[in-house]
Amino acid sequence: MVRFENVGLRYGMGPEILKDLSFDVPPHTLQFLTGPSGAGKTTLLRLILQTLRPTRGLISLFGHDTSSLDKDAITRLRRRIGVVFQDFRLLDHLTTYENVALPLRVQGRDERIYRPEVIELLKWVGLGDRMHVSPAILSGGEKQRAAIARATISRPELLLADEPTGNVDPSLARRLLRLFIEMNRSGTSVVLATHDLALMDQVDARRMVLAEGRLHVYD
């Protein structure tokens, strides 16, 4: 599904911040990406999402070598990936419902068909009564849940989540983790970037640890 071979990244002429990363994310798997703050977890997720290009090495997504793909082809691959950003990146001029429905809207799907699904998911993440308000007035935890709902609404084949439980209390964190596990059971590969050890201890999953620019995988 995702394959990195000897991938390195440096900004400009600076030192390599990610070195010789080689790993793959097999289909239908769940893994944690962890490491100290500033280790490059978000950067690694951006490489998978192709918002950053590596300075060396090979990245393949869903069997395609990304270096040979044009922008539209990468956009089409991105539709198969759901992302929860650390800073949520919700659009404040849209309602919560419209934010969650955005991935379906940009794909040109008919709202009459997806509307019940979006409302159902919003209710499931506890935002049923907040769907018509702007994300600007949501609490941190509510924004987090809206961001997760947006990442999962199109039932992506791969879900990347950057600190998805960073702003929620432990009970909601467990609930959200359950959502990720259920998504994984229904066939989605999940990469959860987190440094929440308590969260990782709840699931027996592969751990990818980033430290000093190198990746160590513990199956």
């Binding site: 918002t51 956009t75 991105r78 159902e120 947006r150």
Partner: protein
């Protein structure tokens, strides 16, 4: 994922606005209206649409007026009979009129009397002068059949029998008039094109500004899988709305301006200045062609706005890679 029961959904048929991509079911525009400096841009579009419509209307008026002048002038010819010592002027005039009357295609021959000929000189020489002593030429006005072609060559030849008569078929005057009208029309079209180009540039700058101001939104759209086409379409939709609104208001103001000018010209018609202006431009009343030209300009303004914004967005998105 465990899902609860599906809530009831209220559906409604798609409206016209929605089918045109101007809102409706599409929900909130993905680009917020307020952030696009829309107010300043729409004023620019209104002004440009107004100027372009005024120019188009004026071009239409000039073209119409010049066709009226040429039509009127081309339906007339004049024979001038000069007095010469030793010749009977009255007899020459009668003879020339007689010759002209026999040429096919000439429907009416009217001899200007001596008194009428003198009255023509009044504006230059003043009234009350005894012109009896002056050798004033006499005029014969020939009206041509508007449908048929008068045989001008034969008339010229036949008039050779009266050595003091000469034919003025207004051809030189017509040629100059047509050239002047054509020049004015070309100048008008160039001005209109320049106004539209200036508007297109203003839209391009506004689009770039809008893109810079909405960078975060564009990034999110890309990350949730929006293609450049989709983003360009969102910008195009936004600017098309501005263009339609600006074009309609600018065009509407131009029509109002023409109506106002027309009603004012009716009041001033009695003054010499008013007569002169009316002779040149008619009564400022836009005909069907004029209104059609304004409508086309309004549509053109909206189309240019939409196309320029779309092209600018595409070019800039390519630059983001």
């Amino acid at each position: 994922m465990s899902m609860t029961e599906a809530p009831e959904v209220v559906t409604r048929p798609a409206g016209l606005a929605e089918r045109l991509g101007l809102g409706g079911r599409r929900g909130t525009p993905l680009l917020p209206d307020s952030s696009l400096a829309g107010r300043a841009l729409i004023i620019v579009i209104i002004i440009m649409a107004f100027l372009a419509s005024i120019t188009a209307g004026t071009v239409q008026l000039i073209a119409q007026a010049s066709s009226d002048w040429t039509g009127t002038v081309a339906r007339e010819m004049t024979v001038q009979v000069r007095p010469r010592s030793g010749r009977d002027l009255e007899a020459d005039v009668r003879r020339a009129a007689d010759i002209a009357g026999r040429v096919p295609g000439i429907t009416e021959v009217r001899i200007f009397t001596r008194a009428e000929a003198e009255r023509l000189l009044e504006p230059w020489l003043g009234a009350g002068l005894a012109l009896g002593e002056l050798p004033v030429p006499r005029l014969i006005v020939l009206r041509l059949d508007p449908a048929g072609q008068a045989d001008v060559a034969r008339l010229k030849g036949d008039l050779g029998a009266v050595p003091t008569a000469s034919l003025d078929d207004h051809r030189l005057w017509l040629k100059r008039l047509a050239t002047m009208a054509r020049t004015l029309v070309v100048i008008g079209l160039v001005v209109m094109a320049l106004v539209l180009v200036a508007m297109a540039l203003a839209v391009a700058f506004a689009t770039r500004g809008a893109m810079a101001g909405n960078r975060e939104i564009i990034d999110v759209l890309h990350l949730v899988g929006a293609e450049d086409r989709f983003i360009a379409r969102e910008f195009q939709r936004h600017f098309l709305k501005l263009g339609l609104r600006g074009g309609a208001i600018g065009g509407g103001l131009a029509v109002l301006a023409f109506l106002l000018a027309s009603s004012l010209s009716q009041r001033w018609i009695a003054t010499p200045g008013g007569e002169q202006v009316e002779a040149l431009f008619g009564s400022f009343a836009l005909g069907f062609g004029g209104y059609a030209a304004v409508a086309v300009i309004a549509g053109l303004v909206a189309a240019i706005t939409a196309v320029v914004s779309r092209t600018t967005v595409f070019r800039n998105l390519r630059g983001l890679d």
